[in-house]
Every structure is written in structure tokens, then in C-alpha cells.
Symmetry: C2
Subunit: 168 residues, 2 copies
Amino acid sequence: MELAEAKLKFIEAWGKLGSEWGINRTMAQVHALLLITPDALTTEEIMEALSISRGNANMTLRDLIGWGLVEKQHRAGERKEYFFAEKDTWMIARQVAQERKKRELDPVVKILNELSEVKGDDKDPEYKTFKKSVTEINKLAKNVNRTLETMLKTEENWFWGSIFKIFK
Amino acid sequence: MELAEAKLKFIEAWGKLGSEWGINRTMAQVHALLLITPDALTTEEIMEALSISRGNANMTLRDLIGWGLVEKQHRAGERKEYFFAEKDTWMIARQVAQERKKRELDPVVKILNELSEVKGDDKDPEYKTFKKSVTEINKLAKNVNRTLETMLKTEENWFWGSIFKIFK
DNA sequence: ATAAACTTTCAATAATTTTTGAAAGTTTAA
DNA sequence: TTAAACTTTCAAAAATTATTGAAAGTTTAT
């Protein structure tokens, strides 16, 4: 396979995975493009490479910066802004984990905590089932959160090394 | 908070979380409803509870069955089909992990494997950057896959117990 | 100040995804 | 059979989400 073809495949695959996991496809594609590009790109170049409009490119880049996955670079004597992606995969994984935890998991955990406070009659099957499900999911969510928090503080090799040491 | 209000909140929260993670909101809501309902429900009752159409209810239930999260029940002397959800949260987590791995992660890993075979000139920065990103992501994906596979084979308490033993 | 170079905004449009509901299909009982 | 009870299908409509592009905004150089 040619490098050029491989790049397109990578961008496509990353975009698809993103969209299946609740991340805008274009955003994932711009990220993919910057990941496999050695130097920083201008908005113009990104528009060109992915055939997207200026507005779309601009907003997507802003989002990616918001996720901590892309940074601006400016070059002496140039007006244009250049964009480049954090290339360290473990950093990317942590960044994404942190943002999604904050934006999506934490709010649900907050609600689950409230819901597990709801009082009722333990003889009532409606109440019992509700209580049990909420409590169990809450427990699971807390374990996931705890693991994510660990991951955020940990080096990649140590993290996986430790995990696989147990699950040899 | 009233139980009835709490139930609605739970259904809403579960639906929102689902939609943020690439799962159809209605599907997550039907699942939530069945999770907190002690006994099996008919299509009619689900339509009523969530104000959705018959077609939607039918398709959603079919999907949930396909995900292994819901089962049909039939009762002697009745024509109607009843639906109920697997209530064990760990089972749900495993079921979802397994399906998403199969449907979404595995295809990407397959492509990443192909892409990491692409040959090129190690002096070419374009090639080097591509190669490095693909290889690193591939490694991460394999670690995730390995962890998921372990999770699929493991009991809940043992899984978390083992994880937190390291990350005390 | 002015204009060129560049970025941002956002209403309108397009694309995609979800939902509806009525018709067609199936099963069971009499 | 036939008809009632129930389920499935799917084209059309609605809802949601993403994209465009031109105008407005900003910055810099002269």
C-alpha cells in the first residue's frame, strides 16, 4: 500500500471510530490528519486536505484545542496560525478520558448519587428494583471513575504493566 | 424525591449518557425502564411509559435483544410477548464491552494492523510520523483489547479488587 | 488611517439519524 | 377457514446534527 493511500485509510478509520463513540467525525478526521503530519498545518491546508469549509475547519480546530488535543503555533514573521497535534498516544488517551469523564460521566454520577438517596418501602418491589439497579450502577461508575483517575496520574508502561501483572 | 420522579430522572440520565456514547437515546431509555421495573413489560406498556410508537418500540427491543441486554418472556396462555432486562450490572457492562469491541474496536485494530505493515523510507519525516502514530495507537488498542478480554472472563469483585490492589 | 491578511461567527442549508404509523405479516384459537 | 391478537416492516416525516460560505471582526504593516 502507498503511504498516501494509507494516510487516507487512517483518517477514515479514525473518523469512523470517533463517530461511533460520540465524537464528531470531522473532528476525529482533523485530529487524525494532524497526528500523522510531521509539521504544523494551516487552516487552509486542513480545509484542502479534508475538503471541508473554512467555518467547519475553524470550529473543529477550536474544539480540538478545547479537548487539549491540538495546539496553535505561531511562526515569526507570519500572520497565519499553524496547528499541530499532541503526538504522544498515552497523553491523547488520558486527555480524552479526562474530558469525557468530566463532561459525561461525572454528571451522571452526580444524579446517581441523588437517586440512591431516594427513600421508600423495602417491601415494595418497584422500590426494591429501582434501588438495587441504581445502587449497583453507582458502584460500577465509581469503580470506573477511580480507575480513570489512576490512569490520569500514571505512566503508560506502569499502568499496563501493573494491569497485566495480575491478569497474566 | 418521589419514586416516580426518580424513575423518570434515571431514564433521562441513562438516555443522555447513551446518546453521548454513540447509543441511540431511545434504546438506552427502554433499557433503563426495564432495568428499574421488577417484572417484564409488554410492547404496549413500554410505548405508553416512554411515549414512543409501536414501530420504534419494536425495533428498539429487537436491538436490545441483539445486544444481549434484554430477553423475551412468554407466559402460558398469553399471546403477548413480555420483555425484561438482565439486571446484573457487571453482566451488562461485559455485554456492552463485548459488543462494542466486536463491532467497533476489532475492525479498527484490523485496519491498524494493515497500516503498520506499510513500508517506506525511514528518512522521510512523512513516513516516520505516520508509522510512529499508527504503531503507538496500535499498541494502545491491543492493550485495551487485552484488558477487555480479561474483563469478559472475570468476576466483578475479582476484577476491581485486583485493579485496586495495585493502585492502592 | 487604510488596506491586506487572516480568523470568527452564524443563519441558512444539507446530511444524517431517528421516529412514526399504517399496512402487511404471523400465529393461535375456535 | 377465518378472524382476532399480536408483531414486523418500511417509506415518509420529523428531529437532530453537521456544514457551508459570506459577512463581520480582528490584527498587523505601511
